[in-house]
């Protein structure tokens, strides 16, 4: 295997910002991507993650800040001078060129010798397992195959960095899982550094070494998937990481810790910062466990069967909705008692 990531140590985003008129699409985002690292930019739509990627690629100018590739400042360079690889959300394959010519496009621009181009294109196509489709036009391929062509076209130029803009969002659920594994496989095979934009937390958790959560153009949290999953920095990140239950409550210091009210009952929680008075409590649906004699009394309002488990909306004694995921069968109208472990009750200052 000769396709590899071009030698570099790190890409550094130094407080980059981008405004559109009065709108701050991106504000003071800093990030260092080391060689071989897979970083996901995660956030809801409109949070500035695609803007960030376009700025790194050079398709958009920065309003403020700088981008450094090792010692070289690259934010003033045009996209054609940066030498990054990019996979677009709609793949952006050249419809008039065969798969082979699409993949060869960047190498032709670099004026490589013909035999080298042929060899490297063949190799890239075998990395994405598309050898048999080389002579077809993009329009003759399925969505997943087009996706592979887009990846091959990006990696064949051996870029120091591959940028991916929601590459799986146009695929159906089954194919998305398949291609996710494929992206992971190609990444570990080539060792290319990757910045991957997505709004899907599961995708980010499963693929990335580190995740940068962007909301409203600002960095909310930067950390490993485990950090984000178990210790989200704020209620906003918690909501994004699947903490469906976000409840306002009053916090009381008690002998054995911090007590908050969930569903009208007092439970113990874990403070995530200096808390006093009003707080926001975050609990995952799967951490609310139906337990006989549990402290929280609730009535099942709605129960969805999800195959392996049930997803239920319950009404607590305090009147608020609680979301619960459980292996126990729950029926609408049924009264249940719920328990939750104190370390799974995250308490944020309101």
């Amino acid at each position: 295997m000769t396709i590899a990531s071009r030698d570099f140590r790190e890409l550094r985003l130094d407080r980059i910002s981008r405004d559109f008129g009065h709108l701050h699409a991106l504000r003071d985002v800093s990030l260092t991507v080391r060689r071989g690292e897979f970083v996901a930019l995660l956030g809801p739509s409109g949070c500035g993650k695609s803007t960030a990627l376009a700025c790194i690629a050079g398709l958009m100018q920065l309003t403020d800040g700088a981008i450094w590739l090792d010692g070289q400042r690259v934010d003033q360079l045009g996209p054609e001078q940066r030498g990054f690889g990019m996979v677009f959300q709609n793949y952006a394959l050249f419809p008039h060129l065969s798969v082979r010519k699409n993949v060869a496009f960047g190498l032709v621009s670099q004026r490589r010798p013909k035999d080298e181009i042929a060899r490297r294109v063949t190799e890239a196509l075998s990395v994405v397992r598309l050898d048999a489709q080389a002579e077809k036009l993009p329009g003759q391929l399925s969505g997943g195959q087009q996706q592979r062509v887009a990846i091959a076209r990006a990696i064949v130029v051996e870029p120091p960095l591959v940028l991916m803009d929601e590459p799986l969002s146009n695929l159906d659920a089954k194919l998305r899982l398949e291609m996710r594994a494929e992206v992971r496989r190609i990444h570990s095979m080539l060792g290319c550094s990757t910045i991957y934009v997505t709004h899907d937390q599961e995708e980010a958790l499963s693929l990335a070494d580190r995740i940068l959560v962007l909301i409203d153009g600002q960095t909310q949290q930067l950390g490993t998937p485990e950090d984000l999953y178990t210790r989200p920095a704020s209620p906003a990140v918690a909501e994004f990481m699947g903490y469906r239950n976000l409840l306002r409550s009053l916090a009381d210091r008690v002998d054995n810790g911090l007590a908050v009210t969930v569903g009208g009952a007092q439970v113990l929680g874990t403070p995530q910062g200096p808390v006093n008075g009003t707080v926001v409590v975050a609990i995952r649906p799967e951490d609310l466990v139906p337990t006989p004699g549990g402290p929280i009394a609730a009535t099942v309002e709605l129960a969805e069967y999800h195959g392996r488990d049930f997803y239920a909306v319950l009404r607590g004694a305090g009147g608020e909705d609680l979301f619960c995921r459980s292996q126990v069968r729950l029926r609408p109208g049924e009264s249940v008692r719920l328990a939750v472990a104190p370390e799974r009750v995250l308490v944020y200052p309101a």
Binding site: L59, M86, N90, Y91, L93, H96, F105
Partner: protein
């Protein structure tokens, strides 16, 4: 029994997209038949019924008289360069305009010459480009020339008028083809290290080519049937004696309708040959949609 048959027939017709609504095309078909096919066929037959001589006499006369057959060359000499000029110029302009925010304003300004019609433009040019017109007076005032430059009553007058009335038309067509190209294709080219020139020749031009062939064909037909400006701005007796003038003279000066019809048929034949060649060339290039991706 017959009701059942009737139902299946209606069903089968509907499967092919034929039902009561299909009848709505009838008025349109009638118009085309009455206003296009009938005059065309009438002219075609008339051209084979000359005032004197055998049935091919009109065509024989046309191709033996240089005063007549030279009009083909004269017209092509006007129509081909101006068509190429219009289309070649409209591509860079359209590529630039695509990025503008005030696109509507600009396109409105450009549409004005189309709505004015060729006669008004020709009249305007006559005074503007004439020996005592603004252009010549300005040129002489700035000492750029000592005698007025002759721009009317010759080839250049007709050429300019065809350019002014033809450009907005080609531009608007080209603009619609250019905006149909997914901008992310060019971005993908740029990220892959391709400079603007390479992006134009390797991405935009191949995707534009089929549209440009159609634009060329339409612009050529328009220019080839030039008549008012060839008379008003040109030298209708000599260098700009285009084929439509020959037809006009046959019909309304010599009252020889069969000859005029023959000239009109020859004119149509030249146009058909060139348009067919252009559209045929289209099959040599990629003709699918200018974007990929599902969703």
């Amino acid at each position: 029994m017959s009701a059942a048959l009737d139902k299946t027939l209606r069903w089968r017709l509907r499967e092919r997209g034929l039902d009561g609504v299909t009848l709505l095309v009838l008025p349109g078909v009638l118009c085309v038949l009455a206003l296009f096919f009938y005059p065309f066929l009438y002219g075609l037959f008339l051209s084979f019924a000359p005032k004197q001589g055998g049935w091919m006499a009109n065509y024989a006369r046309f191709f033996s008289d240089p005063f007549l057959y030279d009009t083909i060359g004269t017209t092509l000499l006007l129509a081909v360069p101006v068509t190429l000029l219009n289309v070649v110029l409209s591509v860079p302009v359209a590529l630039r305009v695509r990025l503008l925010h005030r696109q509507r304003l600009l396109t409105t300004i450009l549409v004005v010459p189309i709505t004015l019609g060729t006669v008004l433009v020709a009249e305007g040019l006559l005074t503007y480009l004439g020996p005592r017109g603004w252009l010549n007076r300005a040129l002489m005032e700035f000492g750029l020339t000592t005698a007025p430059v002759r721009l009317i009553h010759n080839y250049w007058g007709v050429m300019l008028s065809l350019f002014i009335t033809g450009f907005p038309f080609t531009f608007l067509l080209t603009l619609s083809y250019v905006t149909g190209i997914d901008p992310s294709l060019e971005q993908a080219g740029a990220v892959l290290g391709t400079r603007a020139r390479g992006r134009f020749f390797r991405i935009l031009l191949p995707l534009l080519a089929p549209g440009l062939a159609v634009t060329l064909a339409l612009a050529f037909v328009q220019a080839f049937s030039v008549f008012p400006s060839a008379i008003l701005l040109g030298a209708p007796a000599g260098p700009t004696r285009v084929i439509s003038i020959a037809a006009y003279q046959a019909a309304f000066e010599q009252y020889d309708y069969p000859m005029a019809s023959a000239i009109a048929m020859i004119m149509a034949a030249v146009q058909v040959v060139i348009v067919a060649a252009l559209l045929g060339a289209r099959s040599l290039v990629f003709r699918g949609p200018a974007s990929t991706g599902k969703g």
